[in-house]
Symmetry: C2
Subunit: 250 residues, 2 copies
C-alpha cells in the first residue's frame, strides 16, 4: 500500500494525462472514477492496474481487493484527477482490453464511425443487457475509453468484450463463421419487424448523421430499417440500436 500526498507526484501527473486519448493509446490504460464503476471493474482483477482511494475512503464490504495495487491519495489529489466537481472516494487505472478473438462470437454489434460518447456507452450497456457476445468498433468510432463512454456504459464495458477492428475484416470473419450480417439504413432495406433470425446475427450501426457507409452496406446479408410513423426525421442511434438488438436476439 502506497500513499501520495504531493499533487506534483509523477503518478498524479500521469493519471491526469489519461483524460487525453493520446495518453490512453500510448499507455494502453484508462482512468475510471466513482464507487459504482470501480466496483464493476474490480470484479475482474485483471482489469485493474492501480486502485486509487481517497485517504478517508472505507473499502466497502464485498470488494475483494487482495493483491491489487492500492494507492491512497489526499482529497486534493482525488479532485485534481477527477472530472467531476465532487469526486467520490475511488478511482482506478484500468487496462484496455480491446483486442482479442471474435471467432466464437455469434451475437454481435458492429459500430461504424459513431461519434457521440453517450451513444456508444449506451449501446455497450444495451449490448450487455441483451446478452450479446461482443461489440466491434470500426475506424472513426469514438474512443471506447473516453470517460463519457465508460460512464454511459454504467460498467458494461467491464462485462462484455469491446474490440477495435477493421470493419471489412470483421464482416468477413463473421461471415466465415456463418453469422448473418444485418446492416441498417434509413432509405433502403426491409422493415425490421419482418426480419426473422436464427438468433445469430451481427448488427451494423453507423454514424449519427450519415448512417452506415455504403461500402459496408454492400457487404451485408440484409439491410433493415425502423419505420418512422410520425414526423421525426430519425431515431436516436442508441435507441435504434436497442430496438434492433432486442428484436434480433429473440
Amino acid at each position: 500500500m502506497k500513499r501520495i500526498e504531493s499533487i506534483q507526484n509523477q503518478k498524479v501527473k500521469q493519471w491526469r494525462k489519461l483524460h487525453t486519448k493520446k495518453e490512453r493509446d500510448a499507455s494502453g490504460t484508462f482512468l475510471i472514477e466513482g464507487m459504482h464503476l470501480v466496483e464493476e471493474a474490480i470484479k475482474n482483477k485483471s482489469n485493474i492496474k492501480e486502485l486509487i482511494l481517497s485517504e478517508d475512503t472505507v473499502i466497502p464490504k464485498g470488494w475483494d481487493v487482495d493483491d491489487l495495487s492500492i494507492i491512497y491519495v489526499t482529497k486534493e489529489i482525488m479532485k485534481a484527477i477527477s472530472e467531476t466537481e465532487t469526486p467520490q472516494g475511488a478511482a482506478a487505472v484500468c487496462i484496455q482490453k480491446d483486442s482479442g478473438s471474435i471467432s466464437t462470437w455469434k451475437k454481435v454489434i458492429l459500430i461504424d464511425a459513431l461519434q457521440d460518447p453517450g451513444n456508444l456507452g449506451t449501446i455497450i450497456r444495451t449490448a450487455d443487457a441483451a446478452g450479446l457476445d461482443g461489440v466491434i468498433l470500426g475506424d472513426g468510432t469514438v474512443d471506447p475509453y473516453n470517460s463519457k463512454v465508460v460512464r454511459s456504459s454504467q460498467g458494461s464495458i467491464f462485462h462484455i468484450p469491446v474490440v477495435r477492428k477493421k470493419m471489412d475484416e470483421a464482416i468477413s470473419e463473421l461471415k466465415q463463421n456463418e453469422v448473418a450480417i444485418y446492416g441498417t439504413s434509413l432509405q433502403n432495406g426491409s422493415d425490421y419487424r419482418k426480419a426473422e433470425t436464427s438468433g445469430h446475427f451481427a448488427l451494423l450501426i453507423g454514424n449519427e448523421g450519415s448512417g452506415v457507409r455504403e461500402e459496408w452496406l454492400s457487404l451485408t446479408d440484409q439491410n433493415l430499417y425502423i419505420p418512422i410513423l410520425g414526423k421525426a426525421e430519425s431515431l436516436n442511434a442508441g435507441v435504434a440500436a436497442g430496438i434492433l438488438m432486442y428484436h434480433l436476439v429473440k
Copy 2:
C-alpha cells in the same frame, strides 16, 4: 421588423432569464436556438412568439416567416442569450403548449418522475417517430422546456403534444377511454415480448433509479419488463422506452 443593438435592452435580459425554469413557468414561454430547431418550430407559426435573428442571418429558402414578429440582434447579443460557444444565427421565443385534452388519445406514453433531460428529449423524439398521439408528464418529471430536453427531442417537441398532468387523473381518463395501461417494472410483471396489444396502449415509464412509483403500478392493467440477458443491471430509460413503444405500437 425590430432591431436591438444594446445588450442592456430589457428584451435581452428577459430572453436570458428564460434559461431558468422559474421564468419559463411565469411567462409560459421558452427559448430555443439553432437553425434546425427554429425551422421545426416555425412550421407551425402558433409556436412562435418572437423570432430572433443575427444581423447577418439570411433567412433560408423554405422558411415562411410572414406575420412573425422578427427581431434582429447583434452577434454579441446572440452570444449572450445562447448556451453554446458558437451560436448559430437563429433563436426563438416559443409558446408552451402543455395543456390540452387527451380525450382522443389512444397511443400514449406516461412519464413518472423522469429526471434526466437527455432521456426525456430522446423519449419525446421516439414517441414522435413511433407515431404516438401524445406524451403525458406526471409530477416530478424534468421540465420539458429545459433547453437540453428540447435539443435532445430534435424538434419533436413541436411535432407531438406533450402535456403535464396528474398521473392518477391521466390514468383514470385513459381507462375510461378503454386504453390499456402498461406499467414497467424491473422485478414484476410479464416479459414484454409476450404482451399482445390492440395497438391502443398507454405505456408508463418511471424514474431512472427507482422506476415507476408503486401507487401507479397498482392502477395499471398489466406490468411489463424487458429481460436482462447479460450482466447489465438495467437498460437506459430512453432505450427501454424505445424498445417498448415500438413493440406495443405494432
